[in-house]
């Protein structure tokens, strides 16, 4: 599962050069579609996977926590699965995989989003920050420190998402009261029920005024 580097330009944009590329590929798709027996053989001989690897992936250049990655990804791969399964950045959590819990919250180009509903293939040249990108060695981000001090978690599984969301909540200007924090943190479910302490932590960071 090691990410492969490639220079082949496979993303299809609607300029003339790549359109030719596209027609070539769609021709091949059609050929395969009309030949089920050969597909079966392809499957048995495993050579479909080589074609698939070429056909079914697109190149992706993406920056994660300051590190640039040149990858080939399937169009269907979500940013969450790319982070967890391909880049081994398991700090970002899968809680529901359907945008219903917030555990997978990361920052893309400075904005908090749900990585489970984000196709990695649509994040060309994006700058992604995950929980792993917050601390510098043993030096924690103020929000991480506040979560420890205020005990803003128990099992810790929703915590990376809460922290990423909490930082954004302040940066967006939505941490002006406990009530506002509660509303703007409601996209992050904590089943252990640490909400009281999460609001404490965010309030403390907001009032501390440190750069985030």
């Amino acid at each position: 599962m090691a990410p492969k580097k490639t220079n082949i330009k496979k993303v299809i944009e609607d300029d003339t050069n790549s359109r030719r590329d596209f027609i070539k590929k769609s021709g091949l798709f059609t050929a395969l579609a009309f030949a089920p027996p050969s597909l079966v053989m392809a499957s048995e001989k495993k050579w479909d996977e080589k074609i698939a690897e070429y056909l079914e992936t697109v190149p992706l250049s993406i920056e994660v926590n300051g590190t640039k990655h040149n990858l080939n990804v399937e169009p269907r791969t979500t940013l969450l699965d790319l982070l967890r399964e391909n880049l081994q950045l398991t700090g970002t959590k899968k809680g529901c995989d359907h945008g219903q819990c917030g555990a997978c919250t990361v920052h893309v180009n400075g904005t908090r989003i749900l990585s489970c509903l984000t196709l990695a293939s649509m994040q060309q040249n994006a700058q992604v920050t995950t929980i792993e990108g917050l601390s510098k060695g043993k030096k924690l981000h103020p929000m991480q420190e506040a979560f420890i001090k205020n005990d803003g978690f128990q099992c810790g599984y929703c915590t990376p998402g809460q922290i990423m969301s909490g930082i954004a909540c302040i940066k967006e200007g939505h941490a002006n009261s406990r009530e506002e924090i509660r509303e703007y943190m409601s996209g992050n479910i904590c089943r252990c029920g640490a909400y009281h302490n999460i609001v404490d932590a965010i309030t403390e960071v907001k009032e501390g005024g440190k750069p985030l």
Binding site: M1, L39, V40, S43, D48, E49, E56, E74, R76, T77, D81, R84, E85, Q88, T90, G91, T92, K93, K94, G95, C96, D97, H98, Q100, C101, T130, I131, E132, L134, S135, L140, Q144, F147, I148, K149, D151, F153, Q154, C155, G156, Y157, C158, T159, P160, E179, I181, R182, E183, S186, N188, I189, C190, R191, C192, G193, A194, Y195, H196, N197, V199
Partner: protein, 736 residues
């Protein structure tokens, strides 16, 4: 307050940096991806299953069904269905026992390919008539047997019926689902024909035993890792079919298999709090003395395994009442087996008992706390034993003060804040304090660290932090020098994490092992020339050194002692268990939740404006983590009280809201103000630290507190949870 009574979580750094490793996150060379395909009927047989397309799909390594599975050796042994005896034997045959029962395992080289291949599997069924509705299975109910579920009677049966004031009411709680944020997940592999599991288990030793049973191998041959759990709340108390499936799959392909359930499957395949119908009968004198109490419960179980919990048991001892009877029945439904969910039966039972007490108090026109005080049990009438300690009255006082109980009026609907109707309510909780035999190894290392080892794990309450605090207190070693090794097999045997027994069991074992270790260090010191002719009783261990009590200048560091004796470490392994003395007492934790609600009756909107949660849990080892438990228990209770219910379309025997968008759990905005109060008085007999247990009782009593507050605000008594807005909506009468 001791130095360690408010320390931060010792695993905090790992958890806030994303470096804490949960089961499916272990970096495993050559790992493959698997998922389970579920049945689309609730009962019947698999007529045919088409796996060809999936097998041909790119990257697929195996598709396993009942048709091609190599059945684990232990499948042959017939087990009894009682007491969680026989989990579903996955892929054993063509039978379908519940909706979404796994019928196939798909393994592929990448996550995406596996997911797609799974979507290609199609099955045909021979359907049979299913029952998923408890009301329809009532006439097939039975007593599950076993001591705790026996019919209970004290005094005259049905005495309540002839009381001056009588209350009879029926209460229903729906199926609720644990839904920890971390999905059930496992990485399974085999090495030298022995299974290795990285899995979401609340009990390493329990998982070893049950996996061993399935595969016909001794538990010692099963390696289990479960260091970090992203919550579990009880769902990790059983070894589930998905874990066995991953092991079967890994064995078949000879590679590690990672299997993570979908959130949808978390509702169908890993247990839940069972749908329960309860009948209460209470009788009292006009001046508020309980004269009779009857509590009957009917709960669901699966069609292949019995599950029971202590739903009615709290009614036997909670109040001073001469005539008490309880009955507990179960009925089989075509679903997965339920499993204890936080506060388990006591949370269910307390909804009925504490609602009924509130209802009767209202009938008596009496303050519900006053009514409880008049029936305060000075001893445990069920076991006829004294309480080891009981500070429930302190909890009432503290809660009343903090919530502003004086502003409450007995007459419902008589307090307003602006447009909102204001209601105050409370509910009492209790949970037994248990202590399980536990072995802990404590080691002093030459580098000055104290290492504590135990196979117990930590699903969130802060077990490692508790162990650190106790270890540091006993040895005087700074908390940052205490190293905890836990959550995997091969370590000294710890208990399953459940029943609020971890601190009592493991904490005591840490306490005992550390004391023995200090003695051993002192013993070693007596042989050192520095302490020549000084008796061991005159030696003391502090700050990592042994010194003479009388001559403080005579001091030798542990490091020096170890090296002088050519030792790398000094270790003690010790099993610790409850005392005989403790058996003479009834040991319970007590909690009271106070709730202030604001209700808009036109919209049915209920706001949880303020919650004060008070508890008598004996000694509080760590205020920070304990408060966290209590806050969390109350939030769990808000879910139970206001929103959680697994809805079944009984036509299909299928849950209809099995996802996080439609099954609502509380979000941050659902709770406005929360406070916690602990009596923090040492229990004299429970264990060396005097703790009594917290995790379960932290939830017990919260749902009825909300129901009682809603009644106080609106005059609407809701007896079937959750209290959704439709149940309290009032029609506005048109004025024209």
């Amino acid at each position: 307050m001791s130095k360690t009574s408010n320390i931060n979580r010792v695993d905090g750094f790992a958890k806030v940096t994303g470096s804490a490793t949960y089961s499916a996150e272990y970096k495993t060379a050559g790992v493959t991806y698997a998922c389970l395909v579920g049945s689309t009927i609730a009962k019947g047989r698999i007529k045919s299953i088409d796996t060809k397309k999936a097998e041909w799909a790119p990257g697929v390594l195996a598709v396993i069904t009942h048709l091609n599975v190599e059945k684990p050796a232990g499948y042959e042994q017939a087990k009894q269905r009682n007491n969680l005896g026989q989990p579903l034997q996955i892929f054993k045959d063509d039978s379908v026992r519940y909706y979404d029962q796994p019928i196939a395992l798909v393994i592929a080289d990448t996550f995406e390919r596996m997911q797609y291949a799974a979507s290609l599997i199609k099955a045909e069924y021979l359907k049979e008539e299913h029952t998923t509705q408890l009301e329809k299975a009532k006439d097939k109910s039975r007593n599950p047997g076993g001591d705790r579920a026996k019919d209970y009677n004290r005094g005259t049966e049905d005495a309540y019926k002839t009381a001056e004031v009588v209350l009879e009411a029926e209460y229903t709680i729906p199926t609720e689902v644990h839904n920890p944020m971390e999905l059930a997940n496992i990485i399974a592999k085999w090495e030298n024909n022995k299974p290795i599991l990285y899995t979401k288990s609340q009990g390493v030793e329990g998982t070893r035993k049950s996996v061993g049973n399935v595969f016909g191998i001794p538990p010692e041959d099963v390696e289990v890792h479960s260091e970090y759990l992203g919550g579990a709340f009880g769902m990790g108390l059983h070894t589930w079919p998905y874990e066995i499936a991953a092991l079967i799959g890994s064995k078949k392909i000879g590679k590690p298999v990672k299997l993570v359930l979908h959130r949808e499957q978390m509702f169908t395949n890993v247990g839940f709090r069972p749908y329960t119908i309860q009948k209460m009968g209470l009788g009292a004198t006009k001046d508020g003395k309980l004269t009779g109490l009857s509590h009957e419960a009917l709960a669901m179980t699966s069609n292949y395994e019995d599950f029971t919990e202590a739903t009615v048991n709290m009614s036997r001892f909670m109040y001073d009442c001469a005539n008490v009877s309880t009955k507990y029945r179960i009925a089989e439904l075509d679903t997965c087996t339920p499993i204890w969910m936080r506060g388990p039966g006591e949370a269910t039972g307390s909804f009925a008992l504490e609602s009924a007490i509130d209802e009767l108090a209202h009938k008596l026109n009496m303050d519900p706390i006053e009514f409880r005080k008049r029936n305060h049990a000075e001893k445990d009438l069920e076991q006829n034993k004294p309480w080891s300690s009981k500070y429930l009255l302190d909890c009432y006082e503290a809660g009343m003060e903090r919530i502003g109980w004086k502003d409450r009026k007995n007459k419902p609907g008589s307090v307003r804040e602006g447009e909102w109707l204001v209601g105050y309510g409370m509910g009492t909780g209790t949970f037994g304090s248990y202590r399980n035999p536990t072995t802990v190894k404590a080691k002093f290392l030459a580098d000055g660290n104290l290492v504590l080892q135990c196979s117990v794990n930590d699903m969130g309450p802060g077990t490692a932090t508790m162990m650190t605090a106790i270890g540091a207190e006993i040895t005087g070693i700074p908390t940052e020098n205490v190293v905890i090794e836990m959550g995997r097999s091969g370590l000294p045997k710890g208990p399953t994490q459940g029943g609020s027994a971890t601190t009592s069991s493991v904490g005591s074992a840490v306490h005992d092992a550390c004391n023995l270790l200090v003695s051993k260090a002192l013993g070693l010191a007596t042989e050192n020339p520095t302490f020549k002719n000084i008796p061991i009783t005159d030696l003391t261990f502090a700050n990592g050194s042994v010194s003479s009590k009388k001559e403080a200048s005579k001091s030798v560091s542990l490091t020096t002692l170890l090296s002088a004796n050519k030792l790398e470490e000094l270790a003690v392994e010790n099993e610790s268990k409850g005392s005989e003395e403790a058996k003479k007492y009834s040991i319970y934790s007590f909690s009271v939740h106070f709730v202030k609600v604001l209700v808009n009756p036109n919209l049915g909107k209920i706001r949880i404006a303020h919650v004060v949660s008070c508890a008598d849990i004996g000694t509080v080892i760590n205020h920070k983590t304990s408060a966290g438990q209590m806050y969390g228990g109350a939030v769990g209770g808000i879910g139970m009280g206001l929103m959680e219910a697994l809805e079944i379309d009984h036509r299909f025997g299928r849950p209809i809201n099995n996802n996080f968008a439609d099954y609502h759990v509380p979000v941050n905005a659902d709770i406005e103000k929360q406070e916690v109060f602990f009596v923090n008085k040492k229990d004299p007999v429970s264990n060396p630290m005097g703790t009594k247990g917290l995790g379960e009782t932290a939830l017990v009593g919260m749902a009825p507190a909300i129901a009682n507050a809603v009644f106080n605000a609106t005059g609407k008594r809701v007896r079937d949870l959750p209290i959704t807005l439709d149940k309290i909506l009032e029609p506005i009468v048109a004025t024209s």
